[in-house]
């Protein structure tokens, strides 16, 4: 059966991937870590941009909120960083509710600029040491490494398994989420809002929900980032970060989970491969971005139609009741 085949292929791929740290040097492992974090971010943004069709170019704000929540609570109150994972998601989610609620009715590009604006406001607030807890431009340092049952995640190799386990869980959960009532509802409002509302879908609710779920995951990614770097500063949460995440979603193929992973490999990995070009590496990267978009206009791995296994007796006509 094809289904079994895919399962076998996927498991094999996972085993190969999991053994990578034994073959790669630390640098490449760390590149993979970076890719992992961006995969998580892209998966979360994919819900908002890819599925709900909401044009969000300020995702770094949620990422930042998560990272700063982790940093502040960890350095200030000594709460273990791993225990803060849900808290980071929670604060980012709450922030998303507060922000998204009034702006959710904006359409397309108006929403886009507002999200950019929110991203910038957050960054400026961090720089200006809002509430006196963000450390201003210096950021916050001395963030603890995660530790589980006395085992401390320290080296890039450790982080590889930590990050990619989280990414794997995210993939599984989001796969389920996509193939459910919730995922479909997001698609409806992406396709035609009036028709969605006219079919009984509470569009405002789902837009907000997309933002919240996306923000929660970005917040948790922020926690992971903070614990990996042990120092965070506003420089890590600029508009450029949002742009990168956005580019991953579109380039990978919006709405497609494998697309997000591949997109993260390309957007984060290519600049590393292009290190050979020294000063011209970003130039080459820019050109590559255009080229990839042109060759795969729908994204590299565009989303596939959902397939449903249909009930047997769908042939004969029956009632509506």
């Amino acid at each position: 059966m094809t289904n079994q085949r895919t399962i076998i292929t996927i498991s094999l791929a996972n085993v190969v991937f999991a053994s990578l740290p034994f073959f790669l040097n630390t640098y490449w492992v760390d590149v993979l870590n970076s890719i992992g974090i961006y995969s998580i971010l892209a998966l979360s943004l994919n819900l908002i941009v890819g599925h709900a069709g909401l044009f969000n170019l300020g995702h770094a704000a949620f990422y930042a909120i998560g990272a700063y929540t982790a940093a502040i609570l960890n350095t200030g109150y000594g709460i273990p960083i791993l225990a803060l994972l849900p808290a980071c998601g929670f604060t980012a989610g709450v922030f998303a509710v507060l922000i998204a609620r009034p702006i959710i009715h904006l359409r397309g590009d108006y929403l886009c600029i507002v999200t950019i604006g929110v991203g910038e406001i957050v960054r400026i607030a961090l720089i200006n040491d809002v509430f006196g807890v963000t450390g201003g431009a210096n950021g916050i340092f001395g963030i603890a490494r995660p530790s589980l049952f006395g085992f401390s995640v320290r080296s890039p190799q450790h982080f590889f398994y930590y990050i990619w386990t989280f990414a794997g869980i995210t993939v599984c959960l989001f796969h389920l989420l996509e193939n459910s009532r919730f995922g479909r509802a997001l698609n409806y409002l992406r396709e035609d809002e009036v028709a969605a509302e006219g079919s009984g879908v509470d569009t405002a609710h789902y837009k907000l929900a997309a933002f919240v779920v996306g923000a929660v995951w970005a917040g948790m990614a922020g926690n992971i980032y903070a614990s990996k770097m042990t120092i965070i500063s506003p420089e890590s949460f600029t508009f450029w970060e949002s742009v990168l995440m956005f580019a991953i979603v579109i380039l990978g193929g919006s709405g497609s989970i494998p697309g997000m992973l591949l997109g993260a490999f390309l957007i984060v990995g290519l600049p590393e491969l292009f290190r050979e070009f020294a000063n011209a590496r970003m130039l080459v990267f820019g050109a590559a971005m255009i080229a990839m978009m042109i060759f795969r206009t729908q994204g590299i791995l565009p989303a596939k139609q959902r397939r449903y296994s249909l009930p047997e007796s769908s042939g004969e006509e029956s009632g509506t009741g």
């Binding site: 389920l176 009532r181 479909r184 698609n187 409806y188 009036v194 028709a195 079919s199 569009t203 509506t320």
Partner: protein, 255 residues
């Protein structure tokens, strides 16, 4: 009690009164036609009923409850479904998914249930798909279930809109020019379908310019002109009504 009743409904757009003091009732189980010249305000009436516009004045009661200022999806959940004058499908989704949109308000699974695919959620999902497929067979689109909606022909797209509306389990179905762009044969099939839906207990309110269809299926007809109701009655009476003939039907008695 009437299923739907409009009371002195008025809607202005800038200086234009698109709907002017219109009242009429729809009885349960009836097939009611809403006709009138172009720009008479028929679609606007539908948009008022489904909450896309809010009326400037007047009251809309559905099964005794007021619909005024409710959000559209709430109104749908109360048991009113509609189709659109210009087709509004989810073009890039499959036919089945389009119908599942209609099932949406029958289902409960939220974010967490969706994330975890709880057994409850799975059962619900299963049920929705079965339901959606039976509705598709009902309108005759079950073979296209896994096709992308935009690949359907125009007539089938219209049917799909109806299927999506049916999936919300409406008590009242309102159709805005369902036969637009259909030929005689297809229109004939639509007539059968409309009757079949009524036999399932669904009340129907429709706008149509195809008089052969209207006169064939409607039991009651409301005529609008310049936003105001100018006549109401059974087809025979409407056909004879001089005002309607002058404003809308024309003298030629082809139908």
């Amino acid at each position: 009690m009437s299923l739907l009743s409009l009371k002195r409904l008025t809607k202005n757009f800038g200086g234009l009164t698109a709907v002017n003091n219109v009242s009429f009732d729809v009885e349960p189980g009836a097939i009611v036609g809403l006709i009138g010249p172009n720009g008479a305000g028929k679609t606007t009436v539908f948009n008022l009923i489904t909450g896309i516009y809010a009326p400037d004045q007047g009251e809309i009661l559905f099964a005794g409850k007021s619909l005024v200022r409710l959000r559209t999806h709430r109104i749908i959940a109360m048991g009113i479904a509609r189709t659109f004058q210009t087709i509004r499908l989810f073009q890039n989704l499959t036919v089945l998914e389009n119908v599942l949109a209609g099932c949406h308000c029958q289902m409960k699974g939220g974010v967490v249930a969706s994330l975890l695919h709880t057994p409850l959620q799975r059962r619900e999902e299963r049920k929705a798909i079965v339901g959606a497929m039976s509705i598709l067979s009902f309108v005759g689109l079950h073979r296209e279930a896994q096709q992308v909606a935009k690949n359907l022909s125009y007539g089938n797209q219209r049917l799909l809109e109806i299927a999506r509306a049916l999936a919300t389990r409406p008590k009242l179905l309102i159709l805005d020019e369902p036969a637009g762009g259909m030929n005689e044969q297809e229109t004939g099939r639509l007539v059968t379908l409309i009757r079949k839906m009524r036999d399932q207990g669904i009340t129907i309110l429709l706008i149509e310019h195809d008089m052969s269809l209207v006169m064939k299926v409607c039991e009651q007809i409301v005529v609008l002109e310049y936003g105001s109701k100018i006549a109401e009655g059974p087809p025979e009476a409407i056909k004879q009504d001089p005002r309607v003939i002058e404003a809308y039907l024309g003298t030629d008695s082809d139908w």
